[in-house]
């Protein structure tokens, strides 16, 4: 008899836990903000700043009484930027009852996660996934982003290159990644359409110890401009090497390059490099404040996509607040209609889920800072 009792106890515990695990249906004590992204592995440096941004936003909001009278809780999940792990992180977040998602970081991981969120009716907002069809395909009504997609940047680069730099032929390099190669292909497409000759289109291996071969090759083709698709570490290696080898060819990158770390790492070699990125926000008081918060809390400057992540966190929590509940349709409606003040400016989201009000500009590194080009 005693045994039966024990068995019963075990079974009921099992049942209870399983219900508890599935149960987002219970009235949540807190508003849960899921933050999935690459927090370990080679791309960790793109994922962790988003976690920090979320931490800062949540700390501030909680100190002011939270959202809808509830405290905001962070659910941080590592997806290592791998689709299959992202699927697991996504289901974990769904199971843990996340109300809104800030993530994922990489486009591939985002694609893998979105299906789960869509099914569970949860809104996701990425600060960094720039593959155009995430929003343009219309497949994911639950997806939003606080960063412009790659086509916007590519067109801007073409415009700048033809109208300001008057280039005739270009070389396109990329890092073979999801993000970088996507950018590079759009660049090739739009530059070719604009009648500019693409003399070289090649990928480099990220993490390689040396890029002198590809730099030598670029020199041989004598392009007027090198267009880079990818993140800043490889960009700074290539630019530095080009300059060290006394090449003066202009260099332009996307928002993966428009990062202060790029200037810090490339140092004097960064001078004169162009990059497209979200409109200058260095005068935006919210952005200044966010940066200061980060410096105070972590003793270093914020990393990649920090401002976009900070803004996304604000936009999401604001939407919950305005919607008055964590109801899916209500949140989506708020996101599409209401404007919110963020470090990126006053933003809202268009019918596809792309943020409006975040313009793009071309920057040039001058005296160790990105300077907006008019």
């Amino acid at each position: 008899m005693k045994k039966m009792g024990k068995l019963f106890a075990v079974l009921s515990t099992l049942l209870f836990t399983s219900v508890a695990l599935t149960g987002s249906c219970f009235a949540a004590e807190t508003i849960k903000l899921g933050v999935p992204g690459a927090h370990s592995g080679d791309l960790a440096s793109y994922g962790l700043p988003t976690v920090k941004a979320a931490e800062l936003v949540v700390k501030k909001i909680n100190a002011n009484g939270g959202v809808l009278g509830k405290q905001v809780e962070l659910l941080v999940e590592d997806d290592v930027c791998k689709p299959e792990v992202a699927g697991n992180s996504a289901t974990k977040l769904v199971s843990d009852g996340a109300d809104v998602i800030l993530g994922h970081i990489c486009s591939g991981a985002t694609k893998a996660g979105l299906g789960f969120y869509k099914d569970a009716k949860i809104v996701a907002m990425s600060p960094s996934a720039t593959t155009p069809d995430l929003t343009l395909s219309g497949e994911y009504p639950n997806f939003f982003r606080t960063i412009a997609h790659d086509a916007v940047q590519a067109k801007l680069q073409v415009k700048f290159a033809t109208e300001v730099l008057h280039v005739k032929k270009i070389a396109v390099l990329h890092d073979k990644g999801d993000y970088g190669k996507g950018q590079a292909e759009l660049a090739r497409k739009y530059f070719t359409e604009a009648g500019i000759e693409v003399v070289l289109f090649e990928g480099v291996t990220p993490g390689a110890v040396d890029y002198s071969a590809i730099v030598t090759k670029v020199r041989r083709f004598k392009p007027d401009l090198v267009v880079w698709g990818g993140y800043h570490p490889e960009a700074s290696k290539i630019v530095s090497l080009m300059r060290k080898k006394r090449m003066k060819t202009a260099f332009i990158g996307g928002d993966g390059v428009k990062d202060d770390t790029f200037i810090k790492v490339a140092g004097k070699y960064a001078e004169g490099v162009y990059a497209t990125g979200p409109m200058d926000i260095s005068k935006n008081p919210l952005a200044i404040q966010a940066k200061k918060e980060h410096q105070d809390a972590y003793g270093s400057d914020p990393g990649a996509f920090f401002d976009a992540a900070y803004s996304a966190a604000l936009a999401l929590l604001n939407a919950v607040d305005k919607a008055g509940s964590t109801d899916y349709d209500a949140i989506i409606k708020v996101l599409h209609t209401e404007y919110v003040d963020t470090p990126l400016g006053k933003i809202s989201f268009d019918e596809n889920g792309d943020a409006t009000g975040i313009g793009f500009s071309v920057y040039r590194v001058e005296n160790g800072a990105f300077v907006e080009q008019k």
Binding site: E77, T91, K181, S300
Partner: protein
């Protein structure tokens, strides 16, 4: 005296580790203010931690030495004994079976989902076990075949609309052919040379998938791969996941069945002979090339089928899922579990895949814990969790 001695040793270890971790743990350069942050508390932590851990470490090593003194026996371990006895094995399997059947209903979709991941790795582990555990060929590019399977399904579905059930054997077959293609040129290579060439092959496959956009859609991958259909029923995501779980359970059982049969057959014995002594193996009339190719092809076939399921599970694949790390992890499941042992490989796979998932609560300490577990497991149990035991025969005479 000995106690004193031990304390002295631990003290030295403690000092050594404080020295060792000094620049990285203590100094942090603040890049904003260009000042140096001295984190002396970390050093204290390292010192105290190293002191006690080094005591524990030496105690455990001594204990292991004592245990290891015994001659290598073929006495079955606890697991085998339990499984060997019919009166334990049957109820244990029944309980396990029932638990498996109700699992997706008891736990959330997340749990089911990671269990699917774990089971895929069980399949991969068992497949690699043929190559590494039985035939003794160190394969560091196993993920290539996994990728072949996954892309077969994704592409065949995309272009020709082939369904999961047709793609499953086809993916396996294609991967098996790749196994032969790889196996052929490397027949002459042994040990670590083989390892590096297979590693290279794995990377070649991944790089081709990454670069050849027209074929594989490059790094942006292939999305919207359908999950397996069930008589045209319109299932919810949760139901589809549960269905996939059951399919996988069935496949794992099938795998266990096949490998179990193989390892005690003429083929399996030839593999083990090849692993133990290549020259003697040939002198017994066994065709080395054929035996190796068979192992490669069969192992690859399983990876291919695993790949098809993987594609169906994530519904989105890109080359990022098929890096050398995956090969390494699969190899770890085989070695950690116990080479050649089916129960061992299953436990290894479950441990290695579930551990990082459940370690999510450790947050940022997840991967460092994982690394530590790998080292500790190998130091204290180098033969793996469950060591392989050969079949015994009885004679009535």
């Amino acid at each position: 005296m000995t106690v004193n001695n031990e304390i002295k040793k631990s003290f030295l270890a403690s000092v050594w580790f404080m020295f060792l971790t000094f620049p990285i743990m203590v100094i942090k350069v603040n890049t904003v203010s260009n000042t140096v942050e001295w984190r002396w508390m970390n050093m204290v932590g390292v010192g105290v931690g190293a002191f006690f851990l080094s005591m524990l470490w030496r105690y455990l090593l001594v204990k292991k030495e004592m245990g290891g003194k015994k001659e290598k026996t073929d006495k079955p371990g606890l697991v085998q004994r339990v499984l060997g006895e019919r009166k334990f094995a049957v109820p244990a399997l029944v309980v396990l079976g029932i638990f498996t059947l109700v699992f997706p209903h008891l736990f959330s979709m997340y749990q089911t989902n990671i269990m699917i991941s774990a089971l895929i790795y069980v399949m991969l582990g068992l497949g690699l076990n043929i190559v590494v555990g039985l035939a003794g060929l160190l394969d560091l590019g196993y993920v290539a075949f996994f990728a072949v399977g996954a892309y077969s399904y994704a592409l065949l579905n995309l272009h020709y609309g082939l369904t999961f059930w047709i793609a499953l054997p086809l993916g396996g077959l294609l991967a098996g052919c790749f196994g032969l293609i790889l196996g052929y040129p490397v027949l002459r290579l042994r040990g670590d040379y083989l390892a590096i060439v297979t590693l290279g092959f794995g990377e070649i496959i991944r790089l081709v998938l990454e670069n050849w956009n027209e074929f594989s859609y490059g790094p942006s991958g292939i999305a919207n791969i359908p999950k397996p259909p069930l008589f045209g029923l319109d299932l919810s995501l949760n139901q589809k996941t549960i269905y996939l779980f059951y399919i996988l359970v069935a496949l794992v059982i099938f795998t266990i069945f096949v490998i179990n049969r193989l390892q005690d057959s003429r083929i399996g014995r030839a593999w083990i002979a090849l692993k133990d002594d290549e020259i003697a193996c040939q002198a017994m009339g066994i065709d080395k090339a054929k035996t190796k190719l068979r192992a490669f092809a069969l192992g690859a076939t399983w990876a291919g089928m695993g790949g098809v399921i993987f594609a169906a599970k994530t519904t989105f694949i890109n080359p990022a899922s098929f890096t050398i790390w995956e090969s390494v992890i699969i190899l770890c499941t085989v070695v950690l579990g116990g080479m050649g042992s089916i129960v061992g490989v299953i436990s290894g796979a479950l441990l290695l895949i579930l551990l990082p998932e459940y370690l999510r609560d450790f947050g940022e300490f997840r991967m460092i814990t994982f690394g530590t577990v790998l080292v500790l497991m190998m130091v204290f149990r180098p033969g793996g969790i469950v060591e392989n035991v050969r079949k015994t025969y009885t004679f009535k005479r």
